[in-house]
């Protein structure tokens, strides 16, 4: 059972976070390769990503992950060395391999089981790519390991189905190595004595020994001479030490890197090639296994605070890294001898527990509320605007806003990782339905609140699948329509009017409105004689239970989905709209708030209620004059705004606060912009203020309330509802004329 205080758990968690970054780099590299813009460095980046994941996985004993990464890495090394051509098919296998690698990482993280059949399928493809080379490697391994009594038993994979008598991890690094006899003479001798603190800090020599084993051939001798009797044994104290003879074509830095993370938690000496250790047995002899084979005096005393030997200066440089980083992963196979500053060094970052950020966000929220209260008190005190306190308060407000923006930026993340996940969805979905589809992404760097990104993943996945399954035509139909066989799904993100707009566009056939309507009628979702506009027909897709698929596919067609998608997006304070062009394709547009924590709002009064309207939804405000208001039908009014007429809606009536008024002359109208570009005017009694408000969610307590997005606490401590004016408009009754006025008109 994993203890929350288990230091190993923390380090593991950090490893998995790093894996996600490496997987992202891997996807980036593969995408560049797929786009035909790869150079040698691209291949190196891809290789290093896989290599680093393998290294870290080895440190944590994630054997399945190591095994797969190794095979993948071997193929990539073939690409690097030019023995394997990275053609379209190969890149497709690499993408799949990247997906599997991600699956294995997440399975290991979540203590889950990855889909073995898929893994084996891709493994087979990778092995096929290695072809004759793979065979050679295995044979070499057999030869190499036969003299090694201990190594012969190694079965790092634990895979009982595959050649159990052979090591499952033919070491990549020995593939291109010199003939083994030559290399062997240039091996390293490593004396490794863990301090007790190595264990208590959650490290494990087993993982280090495994990493060394992966670098080449090893002869391991353990010195047990310091062990006391069992009853005298201190369970947390280190008694064992090792002497390892390692034959590898890696340089000394790479060998040191294995111990990088524990350099100050052990006593370590590494004797490089050309300096044979006189104490070591001949390399081809069976390794000594008992304590008698190593003089007891060789084992240095256990000194918990003993500094690493001088030879480890380069390691000390690495040790300045945050403790949470995974040091045993050699990021670059061939690093310079001393850690010189790298030219393209990434900017330093620090990982922070999300909970801490959320606490900070909440505190800043309280600060905003507190600042509003002070503002209100100052206003009530009747102090002049040019008084020192008023000026000071202005600065305070500005600072509060800057702090708040900065805190929000901490939570913001580029949508890139989300988009990369969608790339996989497209690959899998298109292969399942036998279509050729490519995902293009735009605006990957657009930053959105982390929570929004997380909660957007599921709806986006479904929409992408729908685009592939329903949007893009079959290759035959596309060719017949004069389109390229390969369909394009474009996923883009950007900021617009203080919101994040995510668009999913396909270049397919567009919505077959006739069929959509017919199905809606068949399913009794709309009356048989319904007269619906194109937009209304498109929106039928979001109705619960609607499905146009004539057969249930693995992807979609289960009759659930788009309504769930819409609900999920609504729950995020977002909206989704459809634009479809027959023969050209369909665009789904998701509009989301930038953050779920604060918003700029207009504080308004209607029917003695104080409400907040998000500022970004208001395009303008106007005081209604008699000549602006025109009757439309028996119960509704429109107002003239320059050259157009806009429906007039009474917010008080729509929210159930009051009946329609006799006249709206002198009232204030907020012009609300909708996603489709149309406007509506919401009548309010008065505008109090524009200010930043802290969003307090209502969903958890009250569920979704129509027309209400959330609530906030105002400066005077009162609670005000934050409206979702677009929702109000969408569900508006529209009556703005009282019965009385109708009678007057009739009379």
């Amino acid at each position: 059972m994993m203890d929350e205080d288990d230091p190993m758990a923390e380090i593991r968690a950090s490893f998995f976070v790093e894996c996600e970054e490496l997987l992202e780099a891997l996807q980036d590299g593969l995408q560049i390769m797929d786009d035909g813009e790869a150079d040698d460095e691209t291949i190196n980046v891809v290789f290093r990503a896989v290599h680093s994941i393998k290294g870290g996985a080895g440190a944590f004993g994630l054997e399945e992950l190591v095994r797969f990464a190794h095979q993948f890495e071997s193929v990539l090394d073939g690409v690097r060395s030019g023995t394997i051509e990275a053609d379209r098919n190969a890149i497709s296998v690499f993408f799949q391999s990247g997906d599997i690698l991600g699956d294995l990482v997440r399975a290991a993280r979540d203590n889950d089981v990855a889909d073995d059949s898929r893994i084996q399928g891709v493994m087979t493809s990778l092995t096929a790519m290695l072809g004759a080379d793979a065979q050679t490697v295995v044979e070499e391994d057999v030869d190499d390991f036969q003299p090694m009594g201990l190594s012969l038993d190694l079965d790092l994979g634990g895979d009982n189905n595959s050649t159990p008598s052979l090591p499952d991890l033919p070491d990549l690094d020995t593939m291109s190595a010199l003939p083994s006899t030559e290399v062997f003479e240039d091996g390293y001798t490593i004396h490794f004595l863990p301090d007790s603190s190595l264990y208590t800090s959650g490290n494990e020599p087993l993982h280090l020994l495994r990493l060394l084993r992966e670098m080449g051939e090893v002869a391991v001798t353990c010195d047990t001479s310091a062990l006391p009797s069992l009853s005298a044994l201190d369970e947390e104290k280190s008694y064992l030490s090792w002497t390892i003879h390692l034959t590898t074509d890696e340089d000394e830095d790479a060998v040191r890197d294995v111990f990088d993370f524990v350099a100050d938690l052990c006593t370590l000496t590494i004797t490089g090639p050309g300096k044979p250790d006189p104490d070591m047995p001949p390399p081809d002899a069976p390794p000594p296994l008992s304590k008698d084979d190593i003089p007891a005096t060789e084992a240095p005393a256990v000194t918990p605070a003993s500094p690493p030997p001088a030879a480890q200066a380069p390691s000390d440089v690495h040790n300045s890294k945050p403790a949470a980083s995974i040091a045993p992963m050699p990021a670059a196979p061939k690093k310079p001898a001393v850690s010189a500053p790298k030219s393209n060094k990434p900017r330093p970052t620090v990982r922070v527990d999300l909970e801490r950020i959320d606490r900070l966000v909440n505190l800043v929220g309280e600060l905003v509320i507190n600042q509003a209260m002070i503002s209100q008190s100052v206003a009530e005190a009747g102090l002049p605007a040019n008084s020192a306190i008023s000026e000071g308060l202005d600065e305070f407000m500005q600072l509060t806003r800057d702090i708040q923006d900065s805190v929000m930026m901490i939570r913001a993340q580029p949508v890139k990782s989300l988009f990369q996940r969608m790339s996989r969805i497209v690959r899998e979905a298109s292969s399942m339905v036998g279509k050729s589809v490519r995902l293009k992404t735009e605006g990957d760097a657009t930053e959105v609140d982390k929570t929004v990104i997380e909660r957007l993943a599921d709806p986006l996945t479904h929409m992408i699948r729908n685009a592939v399954d329903h949007g893009i035509e079959t290759p035959q139909d596309r060719v017949a329509a004069g389109k390229p066989e390969e369909g394009i799904v474009t996923l883009s993100a950007g900021h617009r009017s203080g919101r994040v707009i995510v668009e999913i566009a396909d270049d397919g056939a567009g919505i077959n409105r006739e069929r959509v309507l017919q199905i809606a009628i068949e399913k009794s979702l709309v009356p048989e004689n319904a007269q619906l506009s194109e937009s209304e027909i498109d929106n039928l897709l979001f109705m619960p239970g609607f499905s146009t698929a004539s057969k249930v596919s693995d992807l979609s067609g289960r009759g659930v989905g788009m309504d769930v998608v819409k609900s999920a997006i609504l729950a995020l304070g977002g909206r989704v709209t459809i634009q479809s062009n027959p023969g050209k394709g369909t665009v789904f547009t998701i509009s989301l708030p930038l953050t779920l924590a604060v918003l700029d709002g207009m504080v308004i009064d209607v029917s003695q209620q104080t409400l907040v309207v998000p500022l970004n939804t208001i395009t303008e405000t106007l005081t209604l004059l008699e000549q602006d208001i025109r009757a439309l039908g028996a119960q509704t009014n429109v107002i003239k705004v320059r050259d157009s007429f806009v429906p007039l809606l009474d917010l008080g009536f729509e929210l159930g606060f009051r009946a329609p008024l006799g006249s709206y002359v002198g009232f204030i109208a907020l012009l609300i912009a909708q996603e489709d570009g149309t406007h509506a005017a919401l009548v309010v009694d008065s505008i109090q203020d524009q200010r930043q408000v802290v969003i307090k969610g209502l969903q958890d307590t009250f569920g979704r309330v129509p027309g209400v997005a959330a609530a906030t606490i105002l400066g005077d401590g009162k609670i005000a509802l934050i409206l979702d004016p677009v929702d109000v408009v969408a569900n508006a009754n529209g009556r703005t004329r009282s019965l009385q006025s109708n009678l007057q008109l009739a009379g």
Partner: protein
């Protein structure tokens, strides 16, 4: 009579003390350590096993690892041991 102690799957940091106590509970008896379920042989637990093997040898009792899982064998090998060499010096 030979007692049998079945090792748990993960012999990690948290398993050291219980393992030591369990083995000490068989002091004076011939002991077989069933390692068939072992998926992680941590170094601290390995220390316990080696110390126990030494003690048992000195006491003239047998101490064997039986049915080691493949993973156990692999991880012992990484440490520089095999099930036999770990306890091989014990009298049979």
């Amino acid at each position: 009579m030979t007692a049998v102690l079945a090792l748990q799957e993960r012999l990690d940091f948290g398993a050291v003390t219980p393992l030591k106590s369990a083995i000490l509970g068989y002091s004076g008896q011939d002991l077989e350590i069933d390692a068939s379920q072992v998926t992680h042989m941590g170094t601290l637990c390995l220390q316990v096993l080696i110390a126990a093997a030494n003690d048992w040898k000195q006491a003239g009792k047998t101490f064997h690892i039986i049915s080691p899982s493949e993973t156990c064998k692999t991880q012992l090998a990484l440490h520089g041991f095999s099930p036999d060499t770990l306890t091989g010096a014990s009298p049979t």
